[in-house]
């Protein structure tokens, strides 16, 4: 069938000059005409504290060098009441292929709402985290091409943060950056949240050096860290920018903030 239409310029790339246009149909089976994934860029970040969790993500959506839109949220409330997720206690952030991200969000949201409907109590963050892992693993051989981060408060009221790979491996962590600028943000977080490569002043030299112990940070410090992380990422990554959306989960509920970022 394809050979009939080979007069048109090939799909793969520019071929508009006459000398380049293939005269004969490419021989053999044509393979892989349709690739079902794309990368919509952007970055997300989550940090948990003693009694709160903060999730953040930029709002730019890209395809290649194009900006699709300057406001496409990557943070979603999960559970709660109705389409606006009133009273939700869990936040999911997804970055990667946006269509898969939306599909994943919708599935998890439905499951958490059905849990409340069937059991008459809210799903715990740990249960939701494990369920999310199962959803991702169930599509192991045609994965949701996303890096998910799930945030909330655990049964003791402490900040809980779980991060995932596209096929469902997951882990509870203090902090995690994902997406296009993950490699720029994560080392910064290692240093500023987990105090990696920081040592106690005056503790000696060489093997006597004492590592500075990580401890949960106050909420204000974390908010500033997040803003610094993103303003820096915007400078060095073209797929990150336009706006910064933050969701702060405390026992009082979810507070949402928006900070403009550079639009270049």
């Amino acid at each position: 069938m394809a050979s009939v239409f080979s007069g048109a310029p090939p799909q793969g790339g520019p071929g508009y000059s006459f000398t380049q246009t293939p005269r004969a149909a490419p021989s053999g089976e044509r393979q892989h005409g349709f690739y079902p994934y794309t990368d919509n860029g952007g970055s997300t970040l989550g940090i948990s504290g003693a009694d709160f969790t903060i999730l953040a993500g930029d709002t730019r959506s890209t395809s290649g060098y194009n900006i699709n839109t300057r406001y496409a949220p990557k943070l979603f409330k999960i559970g709660g009441e109705g389409p606006d997720n009133k009273g939700a206690q869990i936040v999911l952030s997804v970055v990667g292929f946006a269509a898969d991200g939306d599909a994943l969000k919708e599935r998890l949201d439905t499951i958490v709402k059905m849990y409340k409907y069937q059991h008459g109590k809210n799903m715990t963050v740990s249960a939701c985290a494990q369920r999310l892992s199962h959803i991702l693993y169930n599509k192991r051989f045609f994965p949701y091409y996303v890096h998910a981060i799930l945030g909330g408060l655990d049964e003791e009221g402490k900040g809980a943060l779980y991060s995932y790979d596209p096929v469902g491996s997951y882990e509870r962590e203090q902090c995690r950056a994902a997406g296009a600028a993950a490699s720029l943000i994560m080392p910064f977080l290692d240093n500023q949240v987990n105090f990696k490569n920081q040592y106690m002043p005056g503790s000696g030299t060489g093997h006597n050096l004492q590592a500075r112990q990580a401890q949960p940070l106050p909420q204000n410090d974390v908010e500033e860290l997040v803003r610094d992380a993103f303003t820096s990422a915007v400078e060095r990554h073209i797929e990150v920018g336009d706006g910064l959306q933050m969701m702060i989960i405390t026992r009082d509920g979810i507070a949402e903030t928006f900070t403009p970022l550079k639009k270049d």
């Binding site: 239409f5 048109a8 994934y37 194009n66 839109t69 300057r70 406001y71 496409a72």
Partner: protein, 260 residues
Amino acid sequence: MNHLPQAWGRPRDDVYGAYDHSHFQTSGPIQHTQSPIVTGTSVVAAKFKDGVVIAADNLASYGSLARFTDVKRLRKFNDQVVVGFGGDVSDMQYLDRLLNSLDIRENYSSSETALNAKNLHTYLAKVMYKRRSDFNPLWNHLLIAGLDGEDKPFLASADLLGTTFTSPTLATGFGAHLAQPILRRTLPDDASVEDVDQETAVKLVKEAMKVLFYRDARSMDRYSIAVITKTGVELHEDEKLENQSWQFAEQIRGYGTQVN
């Protein structure tokens, strides 16, 4: 004609021999669309304070051949939604039939409110995502323009991968490169939508269509344009590009006949 209605309208077996059904054999792998054949180019759209403007030219190309010059690529769904189609024309016609059947079903149902642009966008996005997940994509990039549940302007996109996004201005295909920067000068963000009236928005979209005609080789100067407001859909399907000026052509340097 004989007493076997199955054979009516078919070549007679006694004259031509039995029909060779091997053409219809279903063994072997199922084949899906791997590339678009007859295609439509850009669709452009912009919001304004009372509604949305959307436009697309009337050309369906077959590769570089301008094959069909009277193909309407804007589809009015009801009094508050218009869908614009870029990409494969046969898949557009399939979606058109799908929207027809959806509309009929909706009209027979007892629901009191008609489907708005937001509803239709959700529906079409799910259709597109389902088809890409079946590895049998509908090779289109759609813009859905109209009013949402609160009668506010609504504009969103859905493509063959199921990717969706909304923005004050949108353009598919070549328009994403050429028209979008022009549209964004007037409508940089959501707040600016309130400052733009219908006349400005229509002028803006027509200007974008003109730029696309100048530079997109698979475009045409006949186009459709629709304005969706609370008072309904105003759809013109045979507009002609006005006030073209090719003055700029002689300024172009670097290729063509001139040396430098």
